[in-house]
Symmetry: C2
Subunit: 421 residues, 2 copies
Amino acid sequence: MAKKKYNAFYAQSGGVTAVINATACGVIETARASKNIGKVYAGKNGIIGALREELIDTSKESKKDIAGLKFTPSGAFGSCRHKLKSIEENKAEYERLIEVFKAHDIRYFFYNGGGDSQDTAHKVSQLSETMGYPITCIGIPKTVDNDLPITDNCPGFGSVAKYVAVSIREAAFDVKSMAETSTKVFVMEVMGRHAGWIAAAGGLACEKEGDAPHIILFPEIAFNKEKFLKKVDRTVKKFGYCAIVVSEGTAYKDGTFLADAGTVDAFGHKQLGGVAPEVANMIKDELGYKYHWAVSDYLQRAARHIASATDVDQAYAMGKAAVEFADAGKNAVMPTIVRKNTKKYSWTVGEAKLADVANVEKMMPRSYITRDGFGITEECRQYLQPLIQGESYPPYKNGLPQYVELKNELVKKKLKTKFKI
Amino acid sequence: MAKKKYNAFYAQSGGVTAVINATACGVIETARASKNIGKVYAGKNGIIGALREELIDTSKESKKDIAGLKFTPSGAFGSCRHKLKSIEENKAEYERLIEVFKAHDIRYFFYNGGGDSQDTAHKVSQLSETMGYPITCIGIPKTVDNDLPITDNCPGFGSVAKYVAVSIREAAFDVKSMAETSTKVFVMEVMGRHAGWIAAAGGLACEKEGDAPHIILFPEIAFNKEKFLKKVDRTVKKFGYCAIVVSEGTAYKDGTFLADAGTVDAFGHKQLGGVAPEVANMIKDELGYKYHWAVSDYLQRAARHIASATDVDQAYAMGKAAVEFADAGKNAVMPTIVRKNTKKYSWTVGEAKLADVANVEKMMPRSYITRDGFGITEECRQYLQPLIQGESYPPYKNGLPQYVELKNELVKKKLKTKFKI
């Protein structure tokens, strides 16, 4: 008699990326071939889908559409920013999860997210022990912030890194060609509230002296206005223009974000966001240079059209490995990317305990930032460069990328109770 | 005895684009094979280079580098925003041009720009008549604003159009997947101070009901706050989120730009630019939805990595045709793109008189905008769609596009006088 198969729950968590669906593709394609796993149910809008018993039946999706996830940005099943509290604090949520899992024969839990999500995954992995429900729980790394520990890098980061490096190079070419009579300073704001990984990636565009970006502002380095303006002025005088990448998390020594520097609108409301215009105005006021600024916001993390092929491959591999781990009877672990000690970049899949991953933030080492605090070191470049390698272009129709939209059919509810989030 | 060859002057003018260098490539490659034209001297920073006698000798550039211009954004020789006054107003500038042209055996003038530039080209074309200097002058169209008359469209526009359509599609996918618990409204600001062509291109991403963008704000349509907010609210309630493309030139009925709506910084200075945050704050204040906004600024017009293949082909063809026109003894004309009356999009090269092009702005027809003022019509789509067709990817190395930087060697000056701009 064939062994009974149990279903799997897969959820996307936190901010989505250009390649989190490639991970979903890896999970679903691998699970479809598994001897132990039945159907994969995806949470509608992440973990909330489990709590609300809104389960998407991925078996209703065609092979072609699932394959198409590999080149579709965003979260195909919806994501959310809901963090489960500890079992002591909110036992009801865990009881509800078990109730839903039981009702739908779910004994595998795949949770695809960043630091907070791995913490949730870790809590769920303990349900066997703490609440007697047999569950196999595998975390899957994802975050544009690149701040998960143990893994060499995080799926999602390589593509936003590539977008930022390509964009600042292109915009700087533009500024350079106009600088004699027009814009002399260009400021591009990128994501990264706590860690400067994304801003650092902009530095890859600078391959020789004089190349843009000339200045990078990191959250790790306290902003020194005087020093910064001096550097801007020197750069314009030397190269004719100055291109700047600024992390949204750039802050003064006392921790105040530059973007919170007191700007108010006509109604006296605090102006929200925009460290780029703040920095640009500062330059205009003190140095008088004509400027332009850009805030790429979601464009950077959704830019599947310029995704890193390395990132796409790794994102898929993490999904595949997660299912293989579950198939092998592992629990409470997360696949990782391990950089091999080879001359030419190569990597393999490793394994980390969720307990070691949960709630640990990997910051940029100080040795990755130049002594003056405005650029990246060679060591940083060696680390970042391989992650943006290769172009993985989506298919196009009518001049536009053809991203997949799934049917997302919900499984019929079996529970009578509703759950209030 | 071979006919004496005369040199050509080529200048890039006004805001640069992702494909103006493809036009330069067309000019130089075609001129190199011409029986009449000697060397092509490019103006360093546009027309200023002629006035200052700063002429770049393009014959010093390798065949490979010139070919590389086809996939390099920005202005490889530098551009400027200097508009020549009329001959009556500033005869000195025209005398200087003739002096420089004479000193360097220049009798061909190729001027690559938008409306203002074609006006300059027109004035220069009259030099034979007005000042007795034998010059052949050909204008070459270029502008992301797509506002030149007679030509069906302008090189540079197709690529920014593709960037905007791709970007709003990608960002909207992102927002949609997070909307249940997070951001519900996304606002993307695009260029276009007078005409809404670029904003309209965002509309191409909407291929079926519910697709983003849900709202486009055009400079052509007076902004009605109440009507706008109602539409945002309805859209969020119906589709769960709302994606908006806003033209930087969007204005109230009285002509006040939204971006000039009185926002001041902490020092009481007028906050410069940023209609996207203005609109986003408006939504937050009145409807309370969580929002994100992006300002792509130069990124959009420099985005060679996602250039339209149609645009690249047309940009090159305009440069080639300009030289062919000169070779054929034409003067005071500009090559145009002529849309052929075929079922499948096709085009050919036409010809317009500079006199008819100079200082005429082509606005978007009202019939291209939906009745409610928030979207594009099928007629508009039929016009725009072919212009973003095809992907023309640059070569990559180390994960980054390899854009060409020319040597830009200056010709030895022959004049003793300097000219003050």
